[in-house]
């Protein structure tokens, strides 16, 4: 074996020893280190997600009282049940203020019936999801101006400020689908022209889904399934809605 051959063999042996050490010892450890590093990354991501969820939950907890008040207030616009008596009361008050005669209310979209309140109004289950529709037909008698003001009053029970987006709830939400205004047949066949009109209005009220309930089982202190805050802070709150509810989430 010449000196040159020995040199080549030595170099090859050295490379083989170092390569074997890398492949058998260092490389698996580096792979393991890479796996642990990715585990660390996923743990970091998990922690970030958990932190944001917790922050969101704490924010929701902080906003709970205001949200509870607003959801109760919304229940006035869209109640849990038909609440026909309150609807009649609201309309009677509105017509009294506007000097309009509240002649009749008929539940259902079909007009023609006469008489008093349809207390057994069948809620139309047309809306399979969301609010249930309850169509009504009302007949009001009054002057053109008074009927116009009555329309405005009905709309202003629930009104949305276009610029601020603020929703103001004063009463039941009604969507008027049709309105017929015509001369009021004069009693006793009087030939004297009258400025009194009769207005037949077909409108729809809305009801919350029966499964939801007004507050979905929540109380003024905590929602259903949540631990009640340990300290009430000295001021006791009832489940009843506050007299004034102003919500800014």
């Amino acid at each position: 074996m010449t000196a040159r051959d020995r040199l080549v063999v030595t170099i090859v042996a050295a490379i083989a020893i170092i390569g074997a050490a890398y492949l058998l010892v260092v490389s698996p450890e580096r792979k393991k280190a890479s796996t642990v590093s990715s585990e660390l990354n996923s743990a970091t991501v998990r922690l970030t997600t958990a932190e944001s969820k917790l922050a969101e939950a704490r924010q929701a907890q902080a906003r709970y009282s205001a949200a509870y008040a607003s959801i109760v207030t919304l229940g006035k616009a869209v109640p849990t049940s038909e609440e026909v008596p309150s609807l009649i009361y609201e309309l009677a008050q509105a017509t009294h203020q506007k000097k309009v005669d509240f002649s009749s209310i008929v539940s259902g979209s079909g007009a023609g019936g006469s008489g008093a309140a349809g207390s057994s109004a069948g809620a139309t289950a047309a809306a399979s999801a969301g609010f249930t529709q309850m169509p009504f037909t009302f007949v009001f008698n009054g002057t053109y101006s008074d009927l116009e003001k009555l329309f405005a009053t009905i709309d202003h029970d629930v009104v949305r400020n276009a610029s601020s987006g603020e929703l103001k709830v004063n009463g039941r939400l009604l969507t008027v689908q049709s309105a017929k205004l015509g001369p009021l047949p004069s009693a006793g066949g009087s030939s004297k022209p009258s400025n009194q009109l009769t207005g037949t209005i077909t409108a729809t009220a809305y009801v919350l889904p029966a499964a939801q309930g007004l507050t979905a089982g929540a109380t003024a202190q905590a929602p259903a399934g949540a631990p009640t805050p340990a300290s009430a802070g000295g001021s006791s709150t009832s489940t009843a809605a506050p007299a004034v509810a102003r919500v800014t989430p």
């Binding site: 170099i11 929701a60 949200a67 009104v159 049709s178 905590a222």
Partner: protein, 254 residues
């Protein structure tokens, strides 16, 4: 002159980089250096593993604690979501209503003195559409805002409000003026005359629905712009304000 090497042949050393060991010493040094490098790499990797494992364990434990805390507070998040959904739904319904009061006000404002209206028949959408039909169409024409709160409005966005006016005018020219004026109403899309007929008989203004003799009775159809879709991004900005004494626990009778 030729140069002559005076060193004896057996004492002449071959000058090579391998030296006497034939490069074996260099090879050993290289192997040792390589092994040292491998040991260094191994040490770094092992340090990273132990370090990162400890960190990952600590982060996982912290994440578990925070997840548990968030789960405990989840009902609050759900409640806020319900509240947002209802606010959006009510906003959607309010936003797709037709302003009847404003339209009647506008009608009174634009009507010329020489014309009178005997009856008004106004509808939103098809007059024959039942509540269920309109709710179906509401489902299909749902706006982006309604995606999260699937509420069927009785007057869905896109439906066209129409007014059918029956009235009298002092002359046919006055009827033309009425049509022109009706176009000035806020939100009107189209005004069409259905008929304008002079009454030949001996009608009198006293009887409802009839015009004075020789005065034309007209029927006009006024179509408004389709009801607008409420803004898509109402959710975060939607707030609720109830006036004093307004809120009621049951949302029912006052």
């Amino acid at each position: 002159m030729r140069a002559v090497n005076l060193v004896p042949e057996d004492q002449r050393g071959t000058v090579s980089a391998a030296g006497r060991s034939g490069g074996g010493a260099y090879a050993v040094l290289a192997v040792l250096g390589g092994l040292a490098l491998m040991a260094f790499l191994y040490g770094v990797a092992a340090h990273d593993i132990s370090n990162n494992k400890a960190k990952a364990a600590a982060l996982s434990a912290k994440a578990s604690r925070e997840e548990a805390a968030a789960t405990q507070l989840a009902p609050y998040t759900s409640f806020i979501a319900v509240r947002e959904s209802r606010l959006q739904a009510v906003s959607l319904l309010v936003g797709t209503r037709f302003d009847w009061a404003h339209s009647l006000h506008e009608l009174g404002r634009v009507l010329p003195k020489g014309a009178s209206i005997s009856s008004i028949d106004g509808t939103v959408g098809s007059s024959s559409a039942s509540a269920s039909a309109s709710s179906k169409s509401a489902g299909t024409t749902a706006t982006p805002a309604s995606a999260s709160s699937s509420v069927a409005s009785a007057t869905p966005a896109g439906t066209v409000p129409t007014l059918t006016l029956n009235g009298c005018a002092t002359s046919q020219a006055e009827v033309a003026l009425v049509l022109q004026r009706l176009r000035l109403m806020d939100g009107v899309g189209e005004v069409k005359l259905a008929s304008s007929t002079k009454s030949a008989g001996s009608g009198s203004a006293s009887s409802p629905g009839s015009c004075v003799q020789n005065n034309p009775a007209f029927i006009a159809n006024v179509s408004f712009q389709p009801l607008p879709s409420p803004p898509a991004s109402t959710a975060p900005s939607t707030t609720l304000a109830a006036n004093a004494g307004g809120a009621n626990a049951t949302g029912g009778a006052r």
